[in-house]
């Protein structure tokens, strides 16, 4: 795939494409392939039992990947520096779409109004809003060259808090947490002083405690978020997901139970397994070896993104990469940690693995940003 891309685009901007990070692309391709396999494994039996096409989810996800790759190439082709100039417009557009989705135009599903129904597909704008936030924060911080006084810091916070509130109205706690992670990552590298970071951290902790204690969240949200603290307490409710998920991963052992042979996976004991709990299928069927391989591939992506950040030719490019890095790291840690019971349960997809169009396309778009920064580091 990488080679094809290279030759296909060589004519247009031969100078930049020479610096394409093939290692990053290989890791992305590997993760995507495992993702497709696991989506198939965790859905085919349930589909077949219901008399439906066992390859339904596989085919749709494959389509999302194709669209995602096209978007990634498209984004990579754009010089990221152009984005800095239009960052306010992108940010405004994102806010507009987030407003639109909580208007009657959006679609509600399982108590969360976060989608637009477009024919047979759902579009989840909050996924793309993450990227808008990355670009907007990076542009803002880069504009001030890492000199953030209290006023600018407050502005930066404001940039994150406005979309965060809109997402809270959906409500989608998980995506909100990703926003916070992106904010923290960019502020850390983008110039907040240690004192500011300490204060922000303190404020963050206070906010979390208040959110949990003051009834801002609905009961089920609080239950899900705190189930990981004591999963044995109530097997039937929130902790059910978690217990089944842990059983699945642990049952995989070192070598796994073999592709398509995990009973937890095949028999849909783990809910939402092809989406948020896709890692359990890896854990059960491919075992410790497979799970480590997957994490290593993610590690590779992180490392290359981190490298793209420090080799970026300007502050904006670096902060974009840091934002994407923060986004990916947080999502991987939160999602994988959730399936193993060390982080709260929140509806956060595993990048490049979980079934879902918006998230898949958004992740590829984010990687497109990284590639764009990375291959223009010398230009």
């Amino acid at each position: 795939m990488a080679l094809d891309l290279r030759s296909a685009n060589a004519r247009r901007s031969s100078s930049s494409w020479r610096h394409l990070d093939l290692l990053l692309l290989a890791a992305v391709a590997g993760i995507t392939a495992i993702g497709l396999l696991m989506i198939y494994s965790s859905t085919r039996q349930g589909q077949a039992a219901a008399g439906l096409d066992p390859g339904y989810f596989l085919k749709r996800q494959a389509l999302f990947v194709v669209v995602g790759v096209l978007v990634m190439v498209g984004v990579a082709c754009i010089d990221y520096q152009l984005l800095r100039d239009v960052a306010p417009a992108i940010y405004a557009a994102a806010l507009f779409v987030l407003l639109l989705v909580i208007s009657p135009l959006g679609t509600e599903r399982r108590g969360t109004q976060a989608w637009f129904q477009v024919g047979p597909y759902q579009f989840e704008p909050s996924e793309l809003a993450k990227l808008a936030l990355v670009i907007a924060l990076a542009a803002f911080c880069a504009a001030h060259r890492g000199e953030l006084d209290t006023g600018r810091l407050t502005t930066a916070l404001g940039i994150a808090v406005v979309p965060l509130l809109l997402i809270y109205l959906q409500p989608d706690v998980g995506t909100g947490m990703v926003f916070v992670a992106v904010l923290m990552g960019i502020l850390l590298v983008g110039g907040a002083s240690p004192r500011q970071i300490a204060i922000l951290t303190l404020m963050g902790i206070t906010a979390i405690v208040m959110v949990l204690q003051l009834g801002v969240l609905k009961d089920y949200q609080r239950d899900r978020l705190s189930a990981f603290l004591d999963p044995k307490e109530d097997v039937q409710r929130s902790a059910y997901n978690l217990n089944q998920s842990k059983i699945a991963i642990a049952a995989g052992g070192v070598g796994g139970r073999g592709l398509f042979r995990g009973t937890q996976t095949n028999l849909s004991f783990v809910p939402e397994q092809h989406t948020d709990f896709i890692f359990t299928a890896v854990g059960e069927e491919l075992g410790f070896v497979g799970a480590c391989t997957l994490l290593a591939l993610f590690g590779l992506v992180m490392w290359r993104t981190w490298r793209a950040a420090i080799t970026a030719k300007d502050q904006f490019g670096m902060l974009v990469c840091v934002g994407v890095l923060a986004m990916l790291v947080f999502q991987v840690f939160e999602n994988v940690g959730m399936t193993m019971g060390i982080t709260p349960i929140a509806g956060i997809p595993l990048p490049l693995m979980s079934y879902g169009g918006s998230a898949t396309v958004a992740t590829f778009a984010a990687l497109g940003l990284v590639i764009s920064v990375q291959m223009r580091r010398f230009s």
Partner: protein, 633 residues
């Protein structure tokens, strides 16, 4: 911000990322390497379900292989809850119209928690074959509904031998607790009484076990394995179906005749609410017939008995038809007990066979004197032991009884009774057997202590000995103990544990196990003792002065000599109990018979005619119609 600071901050970022990944890896290591074995089992239990289907019970056959309890294949409509589709109410409405069972009844059955959710639940049985075909042909209208053939208990002879075979019901918590290890589950069937209970282990067989893989919604995905059901073994009884039928019919007829007869003593017709008849082979204790009246239909227990019906079966006004009066009924043996008194008198040397008493019809004892009488105060003149037994001279036995006390107050009557197995469990394999009671000074005291109102006097007097000598007073035995004592006399002193089970057969009719006779006790009854007693009993049947002679009029006693003894027990507040105990042929005893009918008058009138018909059947004669013969004692 300097480049160095940026590098430092990127370094911090890297450290944060590496820490987070390390945390994930550590957790992964813990779950998949350290804790994996425990979780693996949990994962397996998660997805595997066992479904048990009971095997058909074994059949119960008579000694000749005739079926007393069999199995019947019943066309049944079953419903698989999980397959009812989107509109289960519609399906149930259609089904309700088809099988003419109200919707709510169908729903209750479908939701019956006794059934595994993984197997179809029987909702209507005995449906016409056409209904099953209709369901099959219109499967789209009846998703989840199926017609199947199920096996059920079947009683081709109705209530015949009901007390012997017993009945089957759903296991209750008390029965389940000790049997969990044997693989019983709630909702299983279990023998509740009779042979069904006594031979439960043989009859039950092994259930089919299906191992299913299910998903999180409980949908069955596939069968992982199946252990086929093993049908229970058949039990072949020692009961002779034809003889059983004669015993039951004759008992019922005699009871009907008694109920139609006016009792001068009580001034009303005989109540005759209940009775029993039992035939034993004295050579090995096998039971050939065991009839108890009133009886019940074991078939009413199929599919669970209604509370109303069960209430009726346990209503005192119905005289407890579930009770087997042969093993559970307790009666004063009256004159039939003279068997014991005679042997005790001869053994102790208190009398010889030649010893004679002048029977003037009464016997006076005590101070102030109490006068005891024969029936109708009839005077038999000079009688020895044999004559006393034949004519049933109570005076002779009062005389004899008084000799056991005072003086040493020997308890040889009680000892002899126990030697013959009376007042103790016979150890027949049927459940709920009563033990009876042969009183002595100690038991009398104990009875008084436990219930002073019913037993006002704690002391043992000579009068008690007299009562004991004629089988009255506190003496109570079961008809089975009585017949077993006569069988012991017949076989020369071996007390067998009576048994109704003959052998255990497999599905193909091959014998798996023979049920061997068990000897409870051996006692010596030498000819010098046996002969005069048997002669007395023979006289009672064949001598014209014999008490049972009218009942046996015309019976070929010359070729098939019978020894028998009538008994008429007085029960306070009730009419007399009629008893008759016998065995024959006396030269080679193969049959011992006892008939007991409550509140039916003289043993000779009510009980002996039943035994007569049983012997008619045994020797192949036409059955003598039941008539209430005039009799004394």
């Amino acid at each position: 911000m300097s480049a160095d600071t940026t590098r430092l901050r990127m370094g911090i970022l890297a450290i944060v990322v590496i820490s987070l990944f390390s945390a994930l890896l550590a957790r992964l290591w813990y779950l998949q390497v350290l804790a994996a074995p425990a979780f693996k089992t949990e994962a397996q239990l998660n997805s595997v379900r066992f479904v048990y289907t009971e095997a058909p019970r074994g059949r119960i056959l008579d000694r000749n292989g005739k079926v007393l309890v069999g199995n019947r294949v019943v066309p049944t409509v079953v419903v698989d809850k999980t397959e009812l589709g989107d509109k289960p109410d519609d399906v149930i409405r259609h089904l309700s119209a088809l099988v003419h069972v109200p919707e709510n009844v169908l729903k209750d059955r479908i939701d019956d928690p006794r059934y595994s959710p993984f197997k179809p639940i029987p909702v209507v049985d005995d449906v016409p074959k056409e209904t099953l075909i209709h369901i099959r042909e219109h499967q789209d209208e009846y998703p989840g509904v199926q017609g199947v053939m199920l096996t059920k208990r079947f009683y081709p002879n109705g209530s015949l031998a009901a007390h012997v075979v017993g009945y089957v019901g759903e296991i209750n918590d008390k029965e389940l607790a000790p049997r969990k290890s044997k693989g019983y589950r709630a909702g299983d069937s279990i023998g509740k009484s009779g042979v069904e209970l006594a031979y439960e282990d043989e009859l039950r067989g092994q259930p089919e076990v299906e191992k299913l893989e299910v998903d999180a919604q409980g949908r069955v995905l596939r069968t992982l394995g199946k252990q086929p059901a093993v049908q229970g073994h058949d039990v072949r009884l020692t009961i002779d179906l034809d003889l059983q039928k004669v015993a039951e019919d004759s008992l019922a007829q005699s009871i009907a005749a008694a109920q139609a007869t006016y009792d001068n003593e009580s001034g009303k017709r005989f109540v005759a609410p209940a009775g029993s008849a039992v035939v034993l082979d004295p050579r090995d204790g096998s039971v050939l017939a065991m009839a108890s009246y009133p009886t019940y239909e074991p078939a009413t227990f199929i599919d669970g008995i209604s509370e109303k019906t069960f209430g009726e079966l346990n209503d005192p006004a119905g005289h407890y038809p579930l009770n087997n009066r042969v093993t559970q009924g307790l009666y004063a043996p009256a004159s039939t007990f003279k068997l014991v008194t005679s042997i005790a008198g001869l053994e102790t040397g208190l009398i010889t066979p030649q010893y004679t008493v002048n029977d003037r019809g009464t016997f006076t004892i005590g101070d102030p004197p109490t006068v005891l009488k024969n029936a109708f105060s009839e005077a038999f003149g000079y009688v020895n032991l044999t004559a006393a037994l034949t004519v049933s001279s109570d005076v002779y036995f009062y005389e004899l009884g008084s000799r056991f006390c005072p003086g040493t107050c020997r308890t040889s009557i009680q000892e002899t009774a126990k030697e013959l197995g009376m007042g103790d469990f016979t150890e027949i394999e049927l459940p709920f057997e009563a033990s009876g009671r042969i009183p002595d000074a100690a038991t009398k005291k104990r009875l008084h202590d436990s219930n002073p109102d019913a037993f006002p006097d704690p002391e043992w007097y000579t009068g008690d000995n007299l009562n004991l000598a004629i089988g009255q007073g506190d003496t109570v035995v079961t008809p089975l103990q009585l017949v077993n004592a006569y069988a012991t006399l017949a076989n020369g002193g071996t007390v067998y544990a009576p048994h109704v089970g003959g052998s255990i057969l497999d599905v193909n009719g091959n014998e798996v196990r023979k049920i061997e006779p068990r000897v409870n006790r051996k006692t010596a009854i030498p000819a010098a003792i046996r002969d005069p007693v048997v002669a007395g009993f023979e006289g009672a049947v064949s001598n014209s002065r014999g008490t049972a002679n009218p009942a046996f009029a015309g019976f070929p006693t010359s070729t098939f000599p019978i020894a028998g003894k009538t008994g008429t027990a007085q029960v306070s507040g009730k009419q007399d109990t009629a008893l008759f105990a016998a065995f024959g042929p006396t030269d080679d005893p193969r049959y011992a018979v006892t008939v007991v009918i409550e509140e039916a008058g003289f043993g000779a009138s009510a009980a002996a005619p039943v035994a007569r018909r049983i012997f008619d059947q045994i020797v192949g004669l036409p059955l003598t119609p039941i008539t209430r013969v005039q009799a004394h004692d």
